[in-house]
Structure formats: structure tokens, C-alpha cells
Symmetry: C2
Subunit: 232 residues, 2 copies
Amino acid sequence: MKQNAATAKKVTESANRGQCAKRMSILEAAGEVFCREGFSGASIDEIAAEACVSRQTIYNHYREKETLFMAVVDDVMTRANGMMFSILSTFPDRTDNLEDDLTGFIFRLNKNCVCNHDGRFLRKLVQTEGERHPHLFESWRQQGPLKITNALAALFARLSIGGALQIEDFDVAARQFMALGNADLQMLMLFGETPTDEQIESAARNAVRTFLRAYGRPQPSREVPTLVSVTA
Amino acid sequence: MKQNAATAKKVTESANRGQCAKRMSILEAAGEVFCREGFSGASIDEIAAEACVSRQTIYNHYREKETLFMAVVDDVMTRANGMMFSILSTFPDRTDNLEDDLTGFIFRLNKNCVCNHDGRFLRKLVQTEGERHPHLFESWRQQGPLKITNALAALFARLSIGGALQIEDFDVAARQFMALGNADLQMLMLFGETPTDEQIESAARNAVRTFLRAYGRPQPSREVPTLVSVTA
DNA sequence: GTAAAACTAGACACCATTGTCTAAATCGTC
DNA sequence: GACGATTTAGACAATGGTGTCTAGTTTTAC
């Protein structure tokens, strides 16, 4: 019995490993082609070639083109949301050196969620196929971007109550934080380019500097030396 | 001779008026369908139906689908750029009441360039077909968004030199101004919704308030009354 | 090694679309 | 009303894509 269970498990695992590799290969290739060509422009043959798989295998795993598309969307959304919340959990706790901590946070957010493959793919997908599949992206919107903004607002509220920031509307501040973080990257992304680490870092620094100029408490550290030198 | 020229002109004008109407009707319908379905997904028959025109007429005016697509892109780009510069010329001159003036400016910019039909169409088009036609959008990028940012930066420089703003990097400030203006609208737009005037107005107000908190000179108008009342 | 399962290559019917062609109809001008 | 230019509807071949089927090959488990 024990052996049976063990072998059975081994069988399915092993069987799945081969299948799973094919499935993942197909999903990845399909994502690439759907993203590049759009749903209508993508052909199954092209996907099969890019996945190094026969066309029939695709039809075996995913009944038809539409099913494959859904699977691709689901896959990338799940991955993107997971990454998003993972990054969100690294929001700074301490309030000493808030500028560097926030800069690091938005750098991570941009690098791993906004500018990376999945993020770009998702945005493009939502734009190109959103009208055609409204229900498909509504769930993502609810549990993705919407929750992110809420979570960010809550974190800003904590910092604000703690006295590190002076924010009246936390939701607005959260959206502005995200917007500022993308300000220097939007144009690059719109034209399909992938920003370098240096560009993302610079964008993050600019964003946080302005954000803190608007919402940070009037920095005492910078004016104290001036006063001292004057009085001296 | 005079009469000849006059009649000839009248003839061509009149002939052109009918043709021109058809052309515009086709361009508009094609834009709609290309935007909705993407290049591959759009069918000539669908465009013809939406333009209330026979398929052959489309082929008479634009030799093939690709030509039609180019014409559509060119048309919308020209119109969008014109509107953009028109709005840009309404950037505030005076520095009394800068907050209201900037709010009005970004309201106009968002309403007529970013959130309107052409703006949304162009962004979607660049995203979906940008990879397929790199040269097509490069010219637009050069003489569109890039020039806008430069112009905005120059205008901020003027305000900054005049003492109304305290900006170090004008290019960064210009990009941040645009980004803040879109902060509250981005999510709506991404999902294909058209923001209401109230939403655009509110977004503009939020954006300018934060922008001025970051870059405005420490507002004297708000503290003067306090000082006066104290001295009184 | 064997048997079952998965994969491959290619042929196939079916359908949608592109772009051409033709004959009839419509429009504007004289 | 007549004429020329434009438009229309529909037929048409050619193409390319989807999804099915089959026969043969490879992989995997035992």
C-alpha cells in the first residue's frame, strides 16, 4: 500500500514532468506570440514552432485557440499578482532614511512588476484584448491593481500617522506615488523598450525626491546647518 | 480662360467633396475597427460596412489594407499633434493664481489630448502595432511626445526663473507634471473607460496641488494672514 | 522488453479574408 | 436628358488559418 502510493506518486510526477515541460513551453511560446501579434494575428503553427512542439500537441493540451489564450492570460496574471504582493511586503517599516527605503521599494516594484516581461505583457494584453474579454480582466483588476493601491494607501497611512509623512488623502497619494515612479519610464515602455537598471534607479530617485518634497515633513536636517553657520 | 479655370475648379471641388466625404468616412470607420480589432483582426468588409461604403470603394481609394492602415495612422497622428500644440499654447503666462491656471491647463491637456478619442487610439495603436511598424511611430515620437516634454520643460523654466516655481531639473519636472496629471485616470483608461469631466477635473486638481507642494515656493499667501493677525 | 501513453508529421475539409473583376446603378454636371 | 465618373453588389480565385484525423515514432513506467 505504502509502496503503491509511492510508486503511483512517482508515476504521475514523472509523467507530469514531461507533460508539464511541454505545457510550460507552449504557454511561454503562446504568450510571446499572442503578445507580439495579438490574438487574431497569432497562428497556432507559429506558436507550435516557437515552442518546438507539434501543432497536434497544442490541441491535445488546450482544446482550441481560445482555451490556450485563456490559459496564457491566467498563467501570467497569477504570476504577476504573486510577484506584486511579494514586493509589496518589502515596504519599509522604519522611518529613518525613508528616502532611500522608498527609493529601493519603488525600484523593486518597477523592476519586478511594472517593467518586467509579465508586467508589460499584461498591460498590452489588457489594452488589446480587454474589450473582447471584459470578464477576463475584471477579476484581475479587482484583485490586482485595485488591491495594490489600497495596500499602498494603508502603508502610507501608517507612515503618516507615525508622523513621517503629511498626507491628507492616502488613496490619491498612493496613485501619485505609482505615477511618479513611472514618470521617467512611461515613454520608454510605450515604445516597447526595456529600461536599464540605471534608468529604473534614476526614475525611482526622482520620484521619491519629489514625493517627499510634497508629502515629507519639512526636512529639519537640511536647514539646521544653515542656521548654525549663520549664527556662528 | 477665367471661366474655364473657375468651372474646372468648381468641378474638381465638387467632385472632391463627394470623394472627400467617402474618404473621411472610410478613414473614420477604419480607425474604429483597427483600434477595436487590431490590424490582423480587422476585416475590410467590416470597415466597409461601418463606413456605409462598398468594399470596392475602399480598394479604389486605398490600394490595399496596409495602405489604408498607414493612412489612418497618419491621419490620427496629424490631428493629435495639432491639438497637442494648440493646447500647449494655452500654458499660463501670469503667475498670480498659478494653481488654478495650471489646473485648467492640465484639465485641457487631459480632456483634449490624453483622454479623447485620438489620444486613446494612438496609445493603443502604438502598443499593438509599434513592433510591426517601427519607423511609423518613430517620427511621431520625435515630433510628438518628445517635443511636448521639451516645450513643457521650457515653460517650467520660465516660471522657475520668474520665481514662481523652484525646479532644478525641468525635464524631470515636466514628465512628473504629466505623470501626476494622469495618476488618477490611468487605471480607468487602461480598461477602456472614458473619464467624465468631473473625474478629469478632480485628477487635475490633485495633480497640481501635489506638484505645487513639491515645486511651488513656500506659499506666502497662506502664512501672511497668520502673521498679520499676530502682529495686529 | 513491453505496453501504454504522449508526441510528431502530414494530409485534410472547412471557413474567413484579401484583392480582382464585371455589370449594373447612382451621382453630378452640362 | 445625356454623359462621364464614381459607386455598388456580387462572383471569383487564391491564400492562409483552424481544427480533425491518421499512421508512425518516441518516451515513460513497470
